[in-house]
Each structure stands twice: as C-alpha cells, then as structure tokens.
C-alpha cells in the first residue's frame, strides 16, 4: 500500500510538472531571442533540416543566422507552403523548382556562400544494368534537363493536375528523345522513385525512354523516403533511381563537405558502393532554399540569407 501511494504521488508530480512546462513552451510569442531578425522568426522545414550540416547548423556557421524556433512541417510540401502563407512560420525550407514559390510570390533568399550543396539531378543505376546503350539513352536525357524545364514539368503536374507519365512522354517527344529503337534491347530493369511529384516524373522519363529503346521496364514509383528506398537500390531489388547529387552524397557519407556541383559529383562517384554507378549529372538542380513571403522580405529588407543575421532596431 505504501509503495503504491508513493508511485501515485511521484507520477502525479511528474504529470503536473510536464503540464506546466508544456504551458510554458507552447506560447509562440515570436519575440526575438537574440536581437537579430532571425531570432524573432519561426523556421519551418523537414525534421532532418534541423540537424543536417547544410541545414540549421550550416546557416549558423556560414551566416551567423540563428532562428528563434524550429517547427517541423514537411519536406517542401503543402504543409510548409500553407504554414508560410498563413503566418504560422516566417521562413521555410523549400525547393528551388517548387512552382508554389512563384504562385504565392515567395522570395528565395540568396545563398552567396553556397551553404546549400549542389543538387544536380543524377541517375543512380546498378552496374550490371548500365550497358552502353542504357547509358547513352539516360545521358541523352540528362543533357536536356534544366532547372526551368523541371519547374515547368512540375507546374503541369502540381497545378494543372496532369498525369506525370503523360507529362514525361510529352517532354520526351518535344525534346526528340522519345524515338523508338533498340539501344536498350535485352535489358530488364526496375525503376523506382521517391514519393514526390518531381522524382516521379523523372523516373517516368527514364523508364519511358528506356522502354521506347527496347528495355523491359518495371516501375515502382512513390516508394517513400530515402531510408525506405536506398537499401532496396543498394541491395539490387531496384536498378535505377533519379537522385540529387548533394543529398545522396550526404546520405551515404554524413561528413561530406563538398558544395560546388563538380566537387559534389566527384565525391559522390567515390562514395557510392561498388555495385552502383552515377551517370552524367544534369544541369538541372533542385536544391534547398530559404524562402520568406514578399511581405516579410519587404518589412525586414531581406534579399540574402545573411540579412537574417541583421540586428533588429
């Protein structure tokens, strides 16, 4: 009986304490904690941005920017966009190809010190499937992919609700890449993609071009996040995946420090396991960007990430 009562008392105390601290921390006052513009801001982004070397730690190291509070939203998706638009957060981590940046008049803050690593689009393929014909088809696509072109594809899928596969086929034929042939004849491969529209349309482009060139292709799209699909790719149950040089390098080598497109690409070719190869990187990039609303940018005079470290008057 005595011990029972003690347990009850201890548990009640713990709950009361928890409740009190929760009241203290849930007030999003938005008041500046360190006297800078960023100190009064709530930053919204995916969970890993908080700890990634080019995320919050990188912004502090390169620009001396320290945000007042971090709010986990989603990975450059509708939750982040909505929260930024409606003022639940003041600055956000979005992707440069995101059509909602232009649609909402958001401002991308410049990154003069290259805090964010290059994120060129690169096909990662299983070595046994990378025949000369397959390489030729995929590298041909890579040569035509541009950041603006990708933004247009995304606009069609996200805003005009077109089918990604139809958009992929249209892009291939308008770039005269959809021609039928036999370059990839006899190759059987499985193409995967992560669960966001841009990655899906890239996988569709690769898959449709290879199919047109005689390959037997199975699509496994919308798999999920890298933790889910990378083991399948490394283990050989997926053969081809559209990736981004910076994040895949960071995923394989946590301590990678390269930031320029060529440095990142070179580091990636060295870091990949022996059974995977990176084909040519495209000019197209989909990198992270710190984004604010137009009103916020005007109010505080923000054009570069460095401006966030300015003292408030």
């Amino acid at each position: 009986m005595r011990t029972n009562k003690l347990i009850v008392a201890a548990a009640t105390a713990a709950l009361a304490l928890g409740g009190l601290t929760a009241c203290g921390s849930s007030s999003d006052s938005g008041s500046s904690t360190n006297g800078t513009v960023a100190g009064g801001f709530i930053f919204g982004g995916p969970p890993e941005f908080k700890t990634r070397t080019d995320g919050i730690p990188g912004l502090k190291k390169n620009y001396g920017v320290e945000f007042g509070k971090y709010k986990v939203t989603d990975t450059g998706g509708p939750v982040t966009v909505g929260a930024l638009k409606r003022g639940q957060i003041d600055a956000a981590d979005l992707f440069t190809t995101d059509p909602s940046i232009e649609a909402n008049g958001f401002v991308i803050l410049k990154d003069p010190k290259s805090n964010f690593a290059a994120q060129n689009i690169v096909p990662i393929i299983n070595k046994t499937k990378a025949t000369d014909g397959v390489k030729q088809v995929l590298n041909g696509i890579q040569a035509k992919l541009t950041t603006e072109g990708l933004g247009e594809l995304l606009d069609k899928i996200q805003n005009k609700k077109q089918d990604p596969d139809a958009v992929a086929k249209e892009w291939l034929s308008s770039n005269s890449l959809g021609t039928t042939g036999t370059s990839a004849k006899g190759v059987t491969l499985t193409v995967g993609s992560a669960n966001f529209p841009e990655n899906v349309v890239l996988a569709d482009i690769y898959a449709d071009a290879l199919t047109a060139q005689g390959a037997t292709v199975t699509k496994k799209l919308n798999i999920g996040s890298r933790e889910k699909y990378y083991p399948a790719l490394a283990g050989g149950s997926l053969d081809l995946f559209p990736e981004y040089t910076g994040t895949i390098l960071q995923y394989i080598d946590k301590n990678a420090s390269a930031t320029s497109p060529d440095d990142v690409y070179t580091a990636l070719t060295k870091a990949l396991p022996a059974n995977l190869v990176a084909l040519d990187k495209a000019e197209a990039q989909d990198s992270d960007a710190v984004v604010v609303t137009k009103q916020t940018a005007q109010k505080y005079g923000l054009s570069s990430i460095a401006d966030l470290a300015k003292k408030t008057k």
Binding site: N4, V8, L17, T21, S25, K50, Q88
Partner: protein, 257 residues
C-alpha cells in the same frame, strides 16, 4: 539498426534518455518534458471530451434500452483510418487559421482522437448498465427508487468496472495514437519518433517509443488505483474472505438504502 548487436542500441537509447540536455526545453527546441506535457495535454483534452459525450450517452442507452444502434454506429467508426481522417481534416480546417496559431492542426488532431476514444467508453458503459442483474434492478424499483435513483445508485455503481475498463482501453489507444500529432507540425512524444527516423537518429526514435509506452503504463496504473477506490467493494468483490454473489448483492442493496 541492422547487425551490430542489440546491446549497443539499448545503451545508445538509454544514453539518449538519460542526457539531461534532451529533457530541457530551449526557445529553439522543445525537450522531453515539454513534449511529454504536450502529449499528456492532447490526450487529456481528447479523453475529457470523449467522456462528456460517451458516458451520459452510454448510461442513457443502457438504462432505457433505446437507440442501441448508436453503439453499433460508434463501433463501426472504429474502422476509420485515423491518419487518413487527420490529413483530410487538416486540409479542410487549417486554411481557415492565420497567424501564430496551432489551431488549424490542433482541432483536427483532437477530433480524430475523440473519435477514437468514444467507441470503447460508449459500448462499455452501455454494456455495463445493460448487464446489471434484472433482480437487482427490480429490487431497487420495488423499494420505490425513481428512474434517476436506479440509474445513479444501482446501475452506475454496478457498471463501474466495465466503464473503467472501457475508459482504460480508450486512454491507452489515445496515448499511443497521439503520436500522430507530430505528423501535422504539432509536438508530443511522436516528435522524437518522427524526427528520429528522418534524422537517422535511431536512439532518439526508440527513446520516443519507450517514452510513449512508459506514459501509457503510468497512466493506466493511475486509473487502476482510482478504480480500486471508486468501485464499491460489493461490486468488485475485494473482501478478505470469500463471499457468495448473493451476499454481495445484499451488501450493495443495504449500502444504497
């Protein structure tokens, strides 16, 4: 998390849980205590609302024997996929809230938790009241008790063990499911599970899971203690000596006169 032994992961998780830095909140980041408080907050709000709705409804349905279809409907709602309902409600509700508020995410979360908590409380309350022995009920009416007195003094005390078991299963479900709040930008202990996965910080992820389980156990223990003192000994049969059912009923009726 693959080969490499379970022991190091246990130690890493213990290390994460025992690091005082992880318990404190900073302006930038909410620690374990803060998230624990938020988690308890989500759960308590949902359970109180569910009790206020389901307990009177269950008593009324059980006592009158009318509108039993409500219980069936509530039970059918259990099949609703919680995360799907949450995302749908966020899409509908959150665009109406502007500025520094979590309401657009908090309201959908509480709705799905309440929907989750109502069926076990409602169906157990109904079953508890309905299963009171007809002899006991007749005896109470025979002594001149009004409807309200029979419900409050005879049926409710007799139904309490079942009502408590319904509440406890609702509570466990709500505490476990409140982790989804972090799926829609809110806090709670789910934050550690969700963030740990994304940051490949598995000790944090497992630590979050351990904390949810610990919270559920502590909460259940607390309610078990409350139940021990609230439920009449005539109903729970917690006597020093074995007694027959008849004498228990006699004791109860005597107590209520």
């Amino acid at each position: 998390m693959a080969a490499g032994g379970a022991q190091p992961m246990i130690f890493k998780t213990l290390g994460w849980l025992t690091d005082p830095g992880h318990w404190r909140s900073t302006p930038f980041d909410t620690g374990i205590l803060g998230q624990l408080g938020a988690h308890v907050g989500f759960s308590v709000i949902a359970l109180v609302i569910a009790l206020v709705i389901a307990l009177p409804a269950g008593l009324a349905i059980g006592h009158t024997g009318r509108a039993t279809w409500v219980v069936s409907v509530a039970n059918a709602v259990r099949a609703l996929p919680t995360i799907g309902a949450l995302v749908l409600l966020v899409v509908i509700i959150s665009p109406h809230f502007y500025g520094r508020t979590n309401a657009g995410f908090l309201i959908p979360t509480e709705i799905v938790l309440v929907v989750l908590a109502i069926p076990p409380i409602l169906s157990n309350t109904y079953a508890g009241v309905q299963n009171v022995s007809p002899a006991v009920r007749d005896a109470a009416f025979g002594m001149g008790m009004t409807d309200r007195q029979v419900l409050g003094r005879v049926e409710l005390p007799n139904a309490l063990p079942l009502i408590f078991s319904g509440f406890r299963s609702a509570m466990l479900q709500v505490i476990a499911t409140a982790t989804i709040a972090s799926y829609v930008t809110l806090g709670g202990l789910g934050r550690f599970i969700y963030d740990g996965l994304a940051q490949k910080d598995y000790p944090q992820m497992i630590g979050g899971g351990v904390l949810v389980a610990a919270l559920a156990l502590v909460a259940d223990l607390l309610v078990a203690v409350v139940q021990r003192y609230v439920v009449s000994r005539g109903v729970s049969g917690r006597f020093h000596r074995n007694t027959s059912v008849d004498s228990r009923v006699a004791a109860l009726v005597e107590e209520n006169v």
